[in-house]
């Protein structure tokens, strides 16, 4: 880790720690958007990290951004940061300048959005499901049909109908309805649909991996703290053998998850990714079930109350493990890579240094 990165992460850490309270996170589920914290993020430049300065972004690289998202996961930040970053990165590939707005995206197969050219511009008709944070976002990046061809478009959400829905963590996961909405101009570009889907899925998978690894660190910290503070039969919990087993397994799953997440982040940062994202999201999604179960078992009744911070972390892990591919999805992806590898043995695949250039950075094609 570079000194520069350490400074960035250190200050982000401090910022989240002081501004992102348990209550603020709870407010999300009461329908209150954390405006103030969002402004701070925008002002600090975090919402455009990884977008080149030449495009008005903050600069920095993906590595910085993904470690910031690790912190995001650690503090359960209740804001559409990852979505905004993803869209900005994808747009930056098209030389679209950085923005201070909130973005979201959806690549769900069930979406059917039609765009037609009209005399005044374009007409948008259709529906997108499971769109994160749609109710708060300015624009939606989505695959559309335009004159019989697949394109990628950035659609304004002002006039769209939004049905509220949420994931297990209470994060918005809305349905967006465009009922023949007319707009003058939109971002609309050619796209190789399958390639674009894979790109977004990979990027999304890596981002969730980073967020989940941060959340697991938080879970371990909460659990260790509880085992030190809480007593049973006159001894702190962590002195009980059964609790020691729990903490050890929790530590192991967390370290293994953070390690493979960091490996994937590093590889992606160098633009050299082969199996790393698939292996990492697989592992993190798998571990999420184990660590949440242990943490709840360890915390007992207090841990299942809405009052306790624990549920903010465990519910996010339950939600995120299924987003951008659960473990079976990524196992199949990985299996395909192994099946079609040109290496003779598994050992050669494992020890091979990845050389496949990540598709990101080639522009949305």
């Amino acid at each position: 880790m570079s000194d520069m990165q350490e400074i960035i992460l250190d200050s982000t850490n401090k910022m989240f720690k002081s501004l992102c309270s348990k209550e603020l996170i709870d407010q999300l589920e009461e329908g209150i958007f954390a405006e103030e914290l969002w402004s701070v993020l925008v002002e600090s430049g975090i919402t455009s990290v990884g977008v080149p300065e030449s495009l008005g972004g903050t600069g920095g690289d993906y590595n910085d951004a993904l470690h910031i998202l690790q912190l995001y996961g650690r503090f359960s930040v209740p804001l559409p940061l990852s979505e905004t970053l993803m869209v900005q990165w994808l747009l930056a590939d098209h030389r679209v300048p950085a923005s201070r707005e909130i973005f979201t995206l959806s690549v769900n197969l069930k979406n059917k959005i039609e765009i037609e050219e009209t005399t005044k511009g374009y007409s948008i008709r259709g529906k997108a499901v499971h769109v994160p944070w749609a109710r708060h976002a300015k624009s939606l990046l989505v695959l559309v049909n335009f004159e019989g061809a697949s394109k990628v478009a950035l659609l304004p959400l002002e006039q769209a109908g939004v049905e509220y829905n949420s994931n297990l963590a209470g994060e918005p996961s809305d349905t967006v309805n465009f009922e023949s909405i007319d707009v003058e101009n939109i971002f609309l570009e050619d796209v190789e649909e399958e390639k674009f889907r894979m790109k977004v899925t990979n990027l999304g998978g890596l981002i969730k991996t980073a967020m989940m690894s941060g959340a697991m660190e938080a879970l371990l910290e909460l659990s260790v703290l509880y085992s030190k503070e809480r007593e049973q039969f006159g001894r702190p919990l962590h002195r009980l053998q059964a609790i020691q087993q729990h903490i050890a397994v929790l530590s192991g799953e967390t370290v293994a998850s953070v390690t493979i997440a960091n490996k994937a982040i590093q590889a992606f940062g160098k633009g050299m990714v082969d199996h790393e994202i698939a292996a990492a999201k697989l592992k993190l999604s798998e571990s999420a079930g184990k660590v949440t179960e242990i943490a709840h078992q360890l915390h007992g009744a207090i841990g299942v109350t809405h009052e306790h911070r624990l549920n903010q972390v465990t519910r996010r892990l339950w939600a995120w493990r299924d987003e951008f591919g659960n473990e079976n999805y990524w196992a199949d992806q990985l299996a395909e890579k192994v099946m079609s590898s040109n290496k003779e043995s598994l050992w050669e695949m494992i020890t091979d240094r990845p050389v496949t250039k990540v598709p990101l950075g080639e522009g949305i094609k």
């Binding site: 297990l168 078992q297 009744a301 299942v304 109350t305 939600a319 299924d322 999805y329």
Partner: protein, 382 residues
């Protein structure tokens, strides 16, 4: 290992006919409730409880003179498992039927039986159980809620926590100290009192579950006056009475079937999709369910015979609640989806309920560690 022996039970022709009757009733009610996971704790419907009362399916094993139907415990088992499998809303009368009724029958005075049991059996009188306190979870000897005998009756002071459904119940059976704790006999001096929750001095404050739902509560007692005759059983014998209840409640179908509605939906979807691979992957759940169900039924029979089921009942609770959780973990992998409490896709909603209620399964009624301690003690003692 005699303590681990469980008989293999089958149902008779008449019992099967009865099962069919129950099933037909539930089918006819399908439109009146939404099938849900964990319905014995979260499915509150006084209307439905009263309908069951009319059918004679609450307190159905009790003597007729108290509103019961004097049916066998295997018949009761059939009713309970049919209701749970359907995800029917049975939380309102649950504890009264499972625990409080039998408690009165065993230890209650004639007056208590005559007053409470018929109402419970009608499905109109709901109880909750006041055991845990903030510093007395696993260790009930530490209970500090206390009742003092006065001229006007008992005066109760203290608090209970994690009481399921207290905010929706009429009464609570409160375990409290009625004489001072002695170091060497710390489980003595505890008694069970029936507390009318509408009494002055009772404050009920719901605790939000992690989903935001309100299932359990903190209940505060500030000089609550309780009639002298509201003590259940012997003064000072409350701990033993409560422990007997706990053992009784560990092996029922509610320790196996809490997430059954999700499993049913999973299998149904796989059949519809002709997903042979997914079906194969689900079958471990099914074989676990078979073995747990036969254990549970066998223990129900042993209970009827008055045998000691402390060890095997703890086993069912330990394995059954793990199974209930596991249903969600397997289901989510076989059918990838967006689990959500607000989804209008049935599978996603049941999955969300199962995941979010999951941590509770292995906590209520004794944690894993405590159950395993009970099992080992039982097994080692032979």
């Amino acid at each position: 290992m005699n303590k681990l022996k469980i008989p293999i039970m089958g149902f008779t022709e008449e019992q099967e006919t009865f099962r069919n009757e129950v099933r037909q009733f539930i089918k006819s009610e399908k439109e009146t409730f939404e099938s849900q996971v964990d319905s014995w704790l979260s499915g509150y419907s006084p209307e439905f409880s009263q309908k069951l009362g009319k059918k004679g399916w609450i307190g159905m094993t009790w003597p007729k003179q108290y509103g019961g139907k004097e049916r066998s415990s295997l018949e009761r088992y059939i009713v309970i498992e049919e209701l749970l499998a359907a995800g029917a809303p049975i939380a309102a009368h649950w504890f009264a039927d499972r625990q409080t009724g039998p408690l009165f029958l065993k230890f209650g005075t004639d007056e208590q039986k005559e007053f409470f049991l018929p109402k419970i059996a009608e499905g109109t009188c709901y109880f909750s159980i006041g055991l845990s306190e903030p510093n007395a979870g696993s260790d009930l000897a530490a209970i500090s809620t206390k009742a003092e005998r006065t001229e006007n009756g008992w005066v109760l002071n203290g608090m209970k926590i994690w009481t399921s459904g207290a905010h929706l119940s009429d009464y609570m059976i409160v375990l409290c100290r009625t004489s001072p704790k002695k170091p060497d006999r710390k489980h003595e001096g505890l008694s069970q009192l029936v507390v009318d929750l509408s009494s002055p001095g009772v404050t009920i404050r719901p605790i939000k579950y992690l989903t935001g739902e309100e299932h359990f509560n903190e209940v505060f007692f500030e000089s609550v006056i309780i009639p002298e005759e509201n003590i259940v059983g012997q003064e000072g014998n409350g701990w033993k009475q409560s422990m007997a209840e706990l053992a009784y409640e560990r092996s029922g179908p509610e320790r196996i079937l809490s997430t059954f509605p999700l499993l049913e939906e999973l299998i149904g979807t796989l059949r519809e999709n002709k997903d042979v691979q997914g079906m194969g992957e689900s079958m471990k759940l099914l074989s676990q369910l078979y073995s747990l169900r036969h254990m549970s039924i066998g223990i129900a029979q042993l209970l009827e015979e008055g045998a000691d089921v402390n060890t095997t009942a703890a086993l069912v609770k330990d394995m059954g609640t793990k199974f209930e959780k596991n249903v969600a973990e397997v289901a989510r992998l076989i059918i990838a989806s967006h689990p959500s409490m607000t989804s209008d896709v049935r599978f996603e909603k049941l999955l969300a309920q199962s995941i979010l209620h999951g941590p509770g399964f292995t906590l209520r009624g004794g944690t894993t560690e405590i159950l395993r301690g009970i099992v080992t003690k039982g097994v080692v003692a032979e």
